[in-house]
């Protein structure tokens, strides 16, 4: 792990309007992640894990404070700059996979490369490499509804990793998977983290995921309660 900060969150506050009042989802978060970390935001539902992940992913903006991703202040990015950041530097893995149902496995994984204007032959090579990492090279022509949950999540990982992003944000990636599939998925992500030096940040309350994390940032009611680094 290199000591280069890729994510820096400073005094971050996020409030949502609820009726006539407001709900504070994040209340003064200070976190910093270096390149190559395999870290997780751990906490119960409503603790603010996904909200923080969304802000780091430039899908949302803070109410107060700032989140810096690769030295870019999220609250200052316009829609185009935020999209560019996501397109080039961030990979997302979702609880419910969010694969494009009418596209084949190959097309799903190819999608981020299309946005980055890679040539056809480059795309072909990179997609096959990514599918090889997750062990699904035999189902390139299948469509997501024809696949199991574990296979879908592997494709989602391949899609997130295919462009070799700096950071992968994974929101409850094992929530819909059984224990065996969860371990397989997590091992795959751990291997990719080691081999590609990609920073992984999870939002989870799943013990299986937590057991793989090398750093656990515990959130309770929108605050960092504990930041635990496990030396390996």
């Amino acid at each position: 792990m290199e000591n280069v900060p890729v994510i820096k969150v400073e005094k971050l506050v996020k409030r949502f309007p609820i009726g006539k009042g407001e709900f504070t989802a994040l209340n003064g978060i200070d976190v910093q992640l270096s390149r190559g970390e395999f870290a997780g935001l751990v906490g119960p539902s409503g603790s603010g894990k996904t909200t923080l992940l969304n802000i780091i992913g430039s899908l949302d903006v803070p109410t107060e404070g700032e989140a810096f991703v690769l030295d870019r202040a999220i609250s200052t990015l316009n829609a185009r700059e935020a999209a560019l950041l996501r397109k080039k530097e961030l990979g997302f893995i979702f609880q419910s996979y969010n694969l494009l149902a009418v596209h084949t496995v190959f097309e799903n994984v190819e999608f981020p490369l299309l946005l980055l204007n890679y040539t056809g032959s480059e795309r072909n090579r990179m997609v096959m490499d990514a599918l090889d990492w997750v062990g699904i090279t035999d189902k390139v022509k299948s469509k997501p509804p024809q696949l199991s949950g574990g296979e879908c999540q592997r494709i989602a990982i391949a899609r997130a990793m295919v462009k070799k992003p700096s950071i992968v944000l994974a929101d409850e990636p094992t929530a819909n998977l059984d224990a065996a599939n969860s371990h397989n998925i997590l091992k795959t992500m751990e291997t990719l983290n080691r081999e590609l030096k990609t920073t992984f940040l999870f939002a989870t309350h799943d013990d299986k995921v937590i057991s793989y994390l090398r750093r656990k940032i515990y959130l309770v009611d929108g605050r960092v309660e504990k930041d635990e680094n496990i030396k390996q």
């Binding site: 560019l84 080039k88 969010n98 494009l100 596209h103 469509k143």
Partner: protein, 393 residues
């Protein structure tokens, strides 16, 4: 843009039956609208062509007092054929007509008619005037149109009395023999009209060498200016009534196009609205993967618009053979067109042009684009984090 096209195409073809249903309905609109416009254009051409060949030639000189809508002007609207036209008349480039009012007595009934004197040797019109060139002397040879024949229940070989008033106001009568019944699509030259030899009518009217109007052959150039007492009527002026009718008909059929388009657009609009709610997660995913919201709006609009592109291709696949076949065999009107009171053939041959097809395709594409964009604008207001979870109601 290339990526958006690729994605839109994948999404569209991936949607399967839903897409094809929209595409087939829209392709039907393409074909029917082009066919109907082709029929109108074909009618326009046929009407003008028939008028040229049966009635107006390349244009006419009217006696200055001639008013086709006022039969009482006929007693005054005649004059000798101008000197400068005589060589042209002799060459057959111009043909004088003499028109008189009269009555016909078929089966003992009386019917007001126009008696038209026409040169039996003329070749400007399709009227079978050669049938008037006969040695029969006991009755005046005459030809009539099929509408007149049908209305008065008279036909070839029938004899009946006609009565007229000559130039000095004296009534006279004689028997005519129907030598031919012609079928034209131009009611102006048919209803209530009897054609007899020009020289015979001149002698009956005591108007030697005179004419009411003079028609010149279509395509003849260098027609001189109207001599005093005559008015030059161009082909465009004489076919203006057809343009008016066609314009009215075009406006009327536009309602039909609008209904057809509305049905097709309803399908696309409905699909777009449903898509935006059903595909929230997908929209959120596009944004997470690097699209801006406005790019997603563009993608959805493109998807909707590509329905029209696919419809144009599908429409071309079955529409081109159909339209080509129609242009060859024509469309026969299910009712008798002779009572329509306007120049219209029983079988209309649609006329298609590249301009007609391109314009129709462009208009439908534009309407589809608007209908696709309208509901897609909603995406621009979506919160991507909510969309990712499919939580937007």
């Amino acid at each position: 843009m290339k990526t958006a096209f690729k994605l839109a195409f994948r999404n569209l073809t991936g949607a399967g039956l839903r897409t094809w249903l929209n595409v087939i309905v829209l392709s039907f609109s393409f074909v029917v609208i082009i066919w109907m416009k082709g029929i109108i254009e074909g009618w326009n051409r046929q009407a003008k062509n028939d008028m040229t060949r049966w009635e107006i030639g390349g244009g006419q000189f009217w006696h200055e007092k001639y008013d086709p809508f006022d039969p009482f002007t006929l007693t005054e609207s005649h004059a000798p054929v101008p000197e400068e036209f005589i060589p042209e008349v002799e060459k057959g480039v111009m043909e004088p007509y003499l028109i008189a009012q009269g009555s016909i007595y078929p089966r003992g009934r009386m019917q007001s008619i126009m008696i038209k004197g026409i040169n039996p040797k003329q070749t400007i019109f399709l009227i079978p005037s050669h049938k008037l060139d006969t040695a029969v002397t006991e009755a005046i040879p005459a030809v009539i149109g099929s509408i007149m024949s049908k209305n008065l229940k008279i036909g070839v070989g029938d004899r009946m009395m006609i009565q007229w008033r000559d130039a000095s106001g004296t009534f006279d009568a004689s028997e005519i023999l129907i030598r031919e019944v012609f079928a034209a699509n131009v009611p102006n030259i048919d209803q209530g009209q009897v054609y007899i030899p020009l020289e015979k009518l001149r002698s009956m009217m005591n108007l030697p060498g005179e004419a009411t109007l003079i028609t010149f052959r279509d395509g003849v150039s260098g027609i001189s200016a109207a001599p005093p007492g005559w008015v030059h009527k161009t082909k465009q002026e004489l076919t203006a009534s057809v343009d008016k009718v066609i314009k009215m008909k075009s406006a009327g059929t536009s309602v039909f196009y609008a209904v057809l388009l509305l049905l097709a657009m309803l399908g696309i609009f409905d699909t777009q609205v449903l898509s935006i709610f059903r595909r929230q997660k997908e929209i959120g995913t596009y944004i997470a993967l690097g699209y801006t919201r406005s790019q997603v709006v563009g993608l959805f609009t493109l998807e909707g618009t590509m329905n029209a592109v696919l419809a144009a291709l599908v429409g071309a696949a079955y529409g081109l053979p159909f339209l080509a076949w129609q242009a060859k065999v024509g469309w026969t009107m299910p009712m008798d067109t002779s009572d329509f009171g306007m120049s219209i053939a029983q079988t209309l041959y649609p006329a298609f042009s590249a301009g007609l097809v391109i314009m129709t395709v462009l208009v439908i594409m534009l309407v589809t684009l608007i209908v696709s964009y309208w509901p897609s604008r909603r995406i621009a207001k979506m919160n991507p984090t909510e969309a990712l979870r499919g939580r937007i109601q």
